[in-house]
């Protein structure tokens, strides 16, 4: 009977090996799927049971975890949530995370490599492990001003404010916004209700319009035309272009008109300076035809348009000027229409580069990563992406933009501060003539020593019925208020 017993012993070993093989499959091969499955609460439960780091701006807390007596030891809080939601994002047990909460998750939950020595010492000293803190570049006063200006008027839109010299993001607002608080609730019902409300909201509230949406830039794109013209060396602000109220697009029967069908000034021709100030479409269509597609495309790329991997650390949706398949298309492109589509962040980068002597800086939101005890572990160094235009061209562009601003009407002019600006009014939609246009205002100030560059976008003129909305009337006052808030802080 010994032979069967030996065989049974072998069978038993085979059974145990089979079990081990299957356990290896479950615990190694499939482990990642199981661990990150949305229905697996373990990882988030573990995160809720240790203190997640805080997100702050100039000493003001934007997001923090506080101890509670509830089901889980810690509760995420967002003081003044809606105004800063486009920066912080949300952190939810059921719906994961968004915004900076997602992009900086490794630091906040303590798993980032920069926190390694800290974790090690926590392990040895038996201190509760906790996450690192993220200090943002946001200036809370500027962010608040941008959010209030947009939301008080009930606008759907976005504002980005950059520090031209570094690329630091001083404000990044998007309206309508949402309160991240309910999404961090320990009650599943509260989370579910809030999520349903936010995802069904129209216009959408969870979208960060500053970096996740692209819009036709309209006349603000003419800054790039002028930059390309000046860079070519063949044009000066006094170069003459057509002043016709309307031209026929090359090789087509389509008419291109100036705003309201106006003549560009009084003469037969207009200078480049005047054309930019009056935003004459016909002059720029002619200019683009003279410059050619390549010059325009190169200039756009030099300003960062088309760059795909911009992360602040949240990913910025790439902007584009489109395919430009004909001269007519090039003429339309030159006035920021057709397939041109920019994020407000990208448009802010354009004016920030002009303000910074042509140096294009990488925008960034995190200025410092801190350990649990607020000691700095890593400080972000400004990063130059390239030279968009020469310093001389930047200077000339600045002078032309100062000329623009001084001719613009609209509220909110700041006494004693010279702003350099460009407005934009971009048609969009299936029926452009009866859809209110998107309106823009891009600017920086003070012109002689720029401290802040802003891009303001208001979707559909802020009002579905306002067909006559313009960048100057709707967007410019917001931009000026944001600049005012920024300069008050820096003085």
């Amino acid at each position: 009977m010994n032979t069967p017993v030996r065989r049974i012993a072998i069978a038993v070993m085979a059974m145990i090996l089979l079990l081990m093989a299957n356990l290896t499959y479950v615990q190694v091969v499939k482990a990642g799927d199981y661990r990150t499955d949305q229905r697996n609460q373990r990882v988030l439960l573990a995160e809720y049971s240790r203190q997640r780091g805080q997100i702050s701006a100039q000493g003001q807390v934007l997001a923090r975890s506080v101890e509670t007596d509830g089901q889980y030891p810690y509760q995420r809080e967002y003081p003044n949530g809606p105004a800063f939601a486009s920066v912080t994002g949300y952190y939810s047990l059921i719906y994961s995370a968004g915004g900076l909460e997602r992009a900086a998750n490794d630091v906040l939950n303590g798993s980032d490599d920069r926190l390694f020595t800290r974790r090690l010492s926590d392990l040895i000293t038996g201190r509760d492990p906790s996450g690192g803190n993220v200090v943002t570049t946001i200036d809370p006063a500027v962010q608040q001003a941008a959010y209030d200006e947009l939301s008080d008027s009930g606008y759907t839109g976005a504002v980005v404010a950059l520090q031209p010299a570094t690329g630091a993001i001083l404000a990044m607002a998007s309206t309508p916004s949402y309160d991240p608080g309910p999404l961090a609730s320990q009650s599943a019902t509260t989370q579910q209700d809030a999520w349903a409300e936010y995802t069904e909201a129209s216009p959408p509230v969870l979208t960060n319009r500053a970096i996740q949406e692209v819009y036709p830039p309209g006349s603000t794109f003419k800054l790039i035309d002028v930059a390309a013209a000046l860079e070519s060396g063949r044009y000066t602000p006094d170069s003459q272009l057509t002043a016709a109220s309307s031209i026929t697009l090359a090789d087509t029967a389509t008419q291109l008109q100036n705003f309201n069908g106006n003549q560009c000034g009084t003469g037969q021709t207009a200078s480049l300076r005047d054309a930019l100030q009056r935003s004459c479409n016909t002059a720029f269509a002619e200019l683009a035809q003279q410059l050619g597609e390549e010059a325009l495309r190169n200039q756009a790329e030099a300003f960062g348009i088309g760059t795909e991997d911009i992360a602040i650390p949240m990913t910025v949706v790439p902007s584009t000027i489109g395919d430009i398949e004909s001269t007519a298309a090039l003429q339309q492109t030159s006035i920021g229409q057709r397939d041109v589509a920019l994020t407000p962040m990208q448009n802010a980068m354009v004016v920030a580069a002009i303000a910074n002597g042509g140096r294009l800086m990488a925008p960034y939101l995190i200025s410092e990563v801190q350990g649990q005890d607020l000691e700095a572990l890593d400080t972000t160094a400004p990063d130059q992406l390239g030279q968009a235009v020469s310093p001389g061209v930047a200077q000339t562009l600045t002078e032309m933009m100062v000329n623009n601003e001084n001719s613009y009407q609209g509220a909110g002019k700041i006494r004693g501060v010279q702003i350099a600006a460009k407005t934009g009014t971009a048609e969009h939609g299936a029926d452009p003539k009866s859809t209110p246009p998107h309106v823009w205002y891009v600017a920086f100030a003070p012109a002689e020593n720029p401290q802040v560059a802003v891009a303001v976008l208001v979707e559909s003129g802020g009002d579905r019925n306002n067909l006559a909305a313009t960048g100057g009337a709707v967007a410019a006052p917001i931009g000026r208020a944001v600049i005012g808030a920024a300069l008050r802080g820096s003085q």
């Binding site: 069967p4 145990i16 079990l19 299957n22 356990l23 615990q27």
Partner: protein, 473 residues
């Protein structure tokens, strides 16, 4: 002549010292595990901890002394393996108690009943039965004389919950319990051992008949029906009862054990093939007939199709195992309490989450040591009944581990059973201690020196024949 004399006086090594050292090692491991749980759960060292530790140590020492006294030549690895598994189980049950209490406090519910004091008590009862079996059964061969009694008692125990009213026999849908006041036992766990004794004895008695008398069929020699009848009747009865009691795991267990005993006794692979064919047929019939069998198979194929319903348990168990990964979260640092029945049916996923694949591999190796040591005793023991009994008992442990661990990790469909010595459950623990006592008894018989034969007396010199010696030249 002095040296061999001394060796004979000392006898062959008993292995008791090795056993003691290994038991001490198991105690150290279990204590370390407890301290880890306390540290990770941020508990201060409590009196409870001391109580578990002291109770566990006292039981180990008592078991060791009993073996030293009653079965001095028994295999030295079996008891330490059992002690380590039982200790790890206690630590995990204690750890799950802490988690459930925490959750109850956080949710403002009443505190749950603590399970660890019960499991410590059951461990005590188990060891009392362990010593009793070693003490009463001095020679395992005597058990064969009670084969039919054991078989009958086993069948009665098995069928008892089925015929008793549900109020005292049903828990969580399975009608396999006897609830006597505060005590609940599963008589099936004990029936298992009694029936193995019956089958082993029966097969030894009729062994020759199986291999000689009978007709040839498809190249296999079948025994006469009347020789096989009692075995088939008992087999069919036990599996049938369990199927009716909806205890799929135990019916699978019985089926497998009897098949293996039949194969061991007859040394014919054909029995295995016939058995597996029957199993396949039975499986198909059960799948057609019983809704709960179909449900089990569907959950096995895709537990996540109905995650919030029938697939919840196995889904949570897989999440636990996956979250544990290779190294585990560390004892006390995971969330094993999220899995329903984490301390009984899903003990494997609880351990897998906190100890990881590496920890589970270690646990599997301990089981393998325990089982192969049992089979080794079967090989070494000299009587056929002992061989069959030891094989049956050791294989019971193996099959039970396979069915439970395979079920909890989605290798095979889930059927409710407990991991021997690790899972919470009084009947299983106590019955398995009795099982191990029998294994130790058999291994003692296998390893003990043969009683010295009385020397055959030499014939007196007067009766010796004479020899013709060549005359020297």
């Amino acid at each position: 002549m002095a040296a061999p004399e001394a060796r004979e006086q000392a006898g062959p090594p008993t292995g008791r010292t090795i056993e003691l050292v290994l038991l001490a090692f198991a105690a150290v491991l279990v204590t370390g595990a407890l301290v880890l749980v306390e540290a990770n759960q941020e508990q201060t060292l409590t009196l409870d901890l001391l109580l578990i530790g002291v109770a566990y140590l006292a039981l180990l020492v008592a078991a060791h002394i009993a073996v030293r006294w009653l079965a001095p030549y028994a295999d030295p690895l079996i008891l330490p393996a059992v002690a380590l598994l039982n200790g790890l189980g206690l630590v995990m049950i204690y750890r799950l108690d802490l988690a459930k209490a925490d959750r109850a406090v956080a949710l403002g519910n009443d505190l749950p009943t603590l399970l660890w004091p019960r499991q410590v008590a059951w461990t005590g009862v188990g060891l009392v039965l362990f010593v009793a079996v070693l003490w009463i059964v001095r020679d395992h061969r005597k058990l064969a004389a009670y084969a039919y009694t054991a078989g009958f008692a086993g069948l009665v125990l098995l069928a008892l919950p089925g015929v008793l009213p549900s109020s005292i026999s049903e828990v969580n849908g399975a009608k396999i319990w006897l609830r006597l006041g505060i005590f609940s036992i599963q008589p099936g766990e004990f029936a298992k051992i009694l029936l193995i004794i019956f089958f082993a004895a029966f097969l030894v008695q009729k062994r020759d008949l199986f291999s000689t008398a009978g007709r040839r069929f498809l190249g296999m020699e079948l025994p006469r029906a009347r020789d096989l009848a009692p075995l088939l009747v008992a087999w069919a009865f036990s599996v049938g009862v369990l199927v009716l009691e909806r205890d799929l795991g135990t019916s699978l267990l019985f089926f497998g054990i009897i098949l293996v005993l039949l194969y061991t006794a007859t040394e014919r692979v054909s029995w295995m093939l016939i058995g597996l064919a029957f199993f396949a047929a039975g499986g198909i019939v059960a799948y057609q007939l019983f809704g709960h069998v179909r449900t089990r198979v569907q959950i096995w194929l895709d537990p996540f199709a109905d995650f919030d319903g029938a697939g919840f348990q196995i889904g949570q168990a897989l999440f636990g195992l996956g979250t544990g990964g290779l190294g585990g979260t560390g004892l006390g640092a995971g969330r094993p309490e999220l899995v329903p029945f984490a301390e009984s049916d899903f003990m494997l996923s609880s351990l897998g989450e906190e100890l990881g694949l590496i920890g589970l591999a270690a646990v599997m190796v301990i089981y393998l040591v325990l089982i192969t040591r049992g089979l080794r005793s079967a090989l070494a023991v000299r009587d056929s009944f002992g061989k069959l009994l030891a094989t049956g008992l050791a294989f019971t442990l193996a099959l039970q581990v396979f069915i439970v661990a395979g079920g909890a990790s989605k290798l095979i469909p889930l059927t409710g059973l407990t991991l021997p010595f690790l899972s919470y459950g009084g009947s299983s623990l106590v019955a398995n201690y009795a099982l191990v006592a029998l294994l130790l008894r058999i291994s003692n018989a296998a390893r003990a020196p043969l009683p010295r034969r009385p020397a055959t007396p030499l014939p007196p010199i007067a009766e010796a024949g004479t020899e013709l010696v060549e005359r020297p030249s």
